[in-house]
Amino acid sequence: MTSFTAGLLVCAARWLRVGAVAAIAWPCIALAAGGTAKGEAIARQGANGAAACQTCHGQAGEGTAASGFPRLAALPAPYLARQLQAFAAGQRENPLMNAVAKALSPEDRAAVADYYASLPAPAAGAASASAAGSAPAGSASAGSAEAGSAAAGSAAAGSAGAGSAAAPSSGASGPAKGPSNGAVLASRGRWSEGLPACEQCHAPGGRGVGDSFPPLAGQPAAYIASQLRAWKAGKRPGGPMDLMAVVAKKLNDADIDSVAQHFASLPAKGGAR
């Protein structure tokens, strides 16, 4: 009972802060009504002068590798909503997205976040198909991942099946070659410098976990690299506990390119655990 009262107080405080009951209530109702319909409409047609999301992020939210537009499909809704909020407030910088996010109301942003979160992860390799150059196909067989070699193994199997981009470069890199620098950083980190493995938070194969650790698999390499550089330069908020800023500052340029290639080459769905 006390917690109920406390909850009501919290609730009331939120309402007062936001200034309008509707701002909080509306997304809840929309969600309850199975209403990702509004989000879908925005994604397909835009709203308030903002361009349709799918123009850049692809029909199914799979992203556009060549231009580095990120995958949105199956990312956690709270994460997407926070990013839109950060773009709208100018905390996260990107001229296109700043304009779009500002044009959307808070309800619009919540709806479109819910919509993209509800989409299935894109088919393997979609975003990585045109990921630049030397995608480390051998990388996925990095073997002894911190989080388990089975994950790396299955990732390898997955990308072999579907990653058309990864296949050609595997021959080039030679069969007996060890894992790429990016694959090592992804699965083991560089603890001599206090750098955890990416997979220790973003899950084996970069599949993501929970609301705060989005998937990396199948994100365009150009996008991953640009975000790591933005964190490193202090141009993107570091996220909870500033974790990503701390991590990115321990990466050099070669690390960033290699780890971006690595995750771009991994399948976004199927086969992992």
């Binding site: 909850g7 609730c11 070699s149 001599s192």
Partner: protein
Amino acid sequence: MNRAGLVGIGVVVAVIVGAVLVVGYRGPPDMREPAATMASAGGDARSKGAQGSQAGAPDLAPPAPEQPADRKASDATLAEGKAPPMPVQAPDRTAPAAQGAPRPAAKAAAAAFHPPAEDAMPSGELGDVIRKGREIFTDTPKAAAGFVGNSLRCSSCHLDAGRLPDSAPLWAAFVAYPAYRSKTKEVNTYEQRLQGCFEYSMNGKAPPAGDPLLVALQTYSYWLASGAPVDPKLPGRGYPKLAKPGQPPDFTRGAKVYEQRCALCHGADGAGQYTPQGHAVFPALWGPDSFNWGAGMGRISNAAAFVHANMPLGLGGTLSEQEAWDVALFMDSHERPQDPRYTKSVAETRKRFHDTDDSMYGREVGGKVLGDSGPPKRKLASSSRAGQAQAR
């Protein structure tokens, strides 16, 4: 319908929405009433018995200097413990303390000994077993199925696959055995020490002596220790001990630290976070899927030392020592699987194995006696979580 009717409907909707938000805002049950009634624990890390009379340090921390028992029950700072409700997810925010210079101790230790580089693993039969040992170490629930009763991995507490100084590295443990252990009251070999990990930290059952699993883990440890002297005091061993905290560890302060620095990954309910396939990305810190009451991490001083040196991941050294003590007490003031050494009752088990301020076992927190869950229930499906996930 008239306007009054519409307003009425609006009110009803608002109330429903409010109720939904309320539900979403409640903390997990065990955090809602944490009012601990016992004196706080862990007042003195070096109090007699704190060092090893109960669970072994996750690796086997060096023996503590013998000091007279300091059992003065500290004040009842827990008495009013009330944890605030925990937001399940933290918003993007920049934490002030996040950029502290991490791990000075680790660097000093690292200068003393470096295990061989990963890619220097030998090939051939020996190399195969070394690699097998590494796999068991980092993927324990799968690679050691049948001997593991939770979803932790050895590398959950021994970071960097057992290589990292000040994170109970295997290379330092390997050269510290055989050793007398107050936990077992006898001289144990390294293999026996590994068996203890399975029984307590993994809440499982020990593989029999000579089992290929233990052979592989020993072989991996041996390889990591290449070039190290036989020395139980190798710098970097165990977790760096913290001095006695300025204030007795406090549940309420600990709950706040937990909310701000731990819940993002380990969850407001301490249950960790899992892939849909049941793989624990972030291990459970308490509850049925965590280490049991006999594990070294259940010792507050030991947990505080681990947390201070290594948590949050990548931000080791950024919590104050006081914060580490507080949050360690908080973590170890939650229910977890029974101590496998359980005798007839919690009280007697506490007396035999936990009779120190360093353990909350058998003490009352939030109106319940910790550990009062009856004899151990062993289920070794290895991944209870994975089972659940598949059932869904």
